[in-house]
Amino acid sequence: MFEQLINGLTQGSVYALLALGFTLIFGTLRMVTFAHGEVYMVGAYVGFEIIRLLAPSFMLAILVALAATALLGVIIEILSFHFLRDAPHVTSLLVTIGISILLINLAQLIWGPETKSIPYALLDQLDYGEFEIWGVYITYLQIAVLMVTVLLMTALYLLINKTKLGMVIRATAQDYEAAYAMGVNVNVVFSMAFAIGSMLGGVAGVLIGVYYNLFYPTMGQLYGLKAFSASVVGGLMSLPGSVVAGLLIGVIETFAVEFGASSLRHMISFLFMILILLFRPSGLFGGKELIQARGD
């Protein structure tokens, strides 16, 4: 059982990272992106290339993926939001769907449709021993994944709550017109929020890509949709909510398998989402934390 809990938390931390991205983007821009899973995929491939071509360094891969997905995020934001500010919601949504289709197929052209993996000779240099606790083997890579996740979440928390940029993002999320009137260049803030959200997705891609050592063009689809439902469960605007919901869904999924409901596994996040929507649309925790997040 303890082992399953660890499994669930590892899995859930990825959902949480992706959900955080969704939440940040929705909270600030009030738009839903369906290209987030593909940002994750691009992040993973970038990490893959860095490790394969440059150096087998986890940190370097993450840093480059951060930069790349931030840029990608800005591009997506410009295409799907900036030009479509006064358009109906569905227009933005469709552009992100278009971008998602485009990215998957571009990745397929660049990296080929097949599953790639980092050669084991290189991967061994990244490694990582393992240790045993209560009969469960935990690798340092697993620890690294969890640590980077926690680190990122903390960094995001500090960024949003303790910095000027964070304050401006929150202000823009609450009342972008008023922020605009204060002289804030809200376009830049929107881009920033999208970029930060995308960076989280990109890092998740690297982490999971390296962890499972599998890279393929459609790797973001199901993850994207699930993380999205985690974000809804967390309240769509609540950063802590997304983290908790992501972890929760990860753990519940794992235990569903344990108790013989493997086939239910992928339904759980969506069922959870619908239940939350029906009975508590504001999410597990009221769902206003992004715009409510308090510094002190």
Binding site: R170, Q174, D175, G183, V184, Q292, A293
Partner: protein
Amino acid sequence: MLELTDIDAYYGPIQALKNVSLTVNRGEIVSLLGGNACGKSTTMKTILGLVKPRRGRITFEGQRIDRRPPSVVVKAGISPVLEARRLFPYLTVLENLRMGAYTRRDKKGIEQDIERMYELFPVVRERYRQPASTLSGGEQQMVAMARALMARPKLLIMDEPSMGLSPLYVEKVFEIIETVNRKEGVAILLVEQNANMALSIATRGYVLQTGEIVLKDTAENLLSNPLMQKAYLGVA
């Protein structure tokens, strides 16, 4: 200092401003009066750059500011107190003040100004850790003014500061407007429906009706002008 010349503005196909011209001089308080839906708020939004005029020009200290984004306008020295206050509801009072100083880079000056605001508005000091939404309407108005002043403006434009406030607070707000004007030497463009109150502190006034300026005069003349009552209130 601020000069609007022949401004036309539209919301979709509907004309909201017709040929509006007005000036605000250094250090004075100017009232812009009128009933509902007469174009007061649109005038203010046009000055701020939130609405783009279709015709006409706006200059501030000789600089063209029409069609420029608010960031430029605010940097140039115009700071808004928005209609219905529009504080950031879930930011703390202090954070709201800092948002007001968004365009400034001088950290020291900002901290000093925050202290100054604490003095000018005791409420702000008492409540600085609370989210703005937990404050009462009058308190929020104080914060909104403090926030606007944080930009160290040369001109403050205020959109209906008395709206929805209890008489006691209305009085207080207008007192503070006067104080701010005197102490800080800030020129103020006061968009108001509360004509008597606004004119009592203003030097000059303009009256808008269906998007057009129908009257302009000194405050005293306007107060005693029967036409003004007629145009503004429709009182026979």
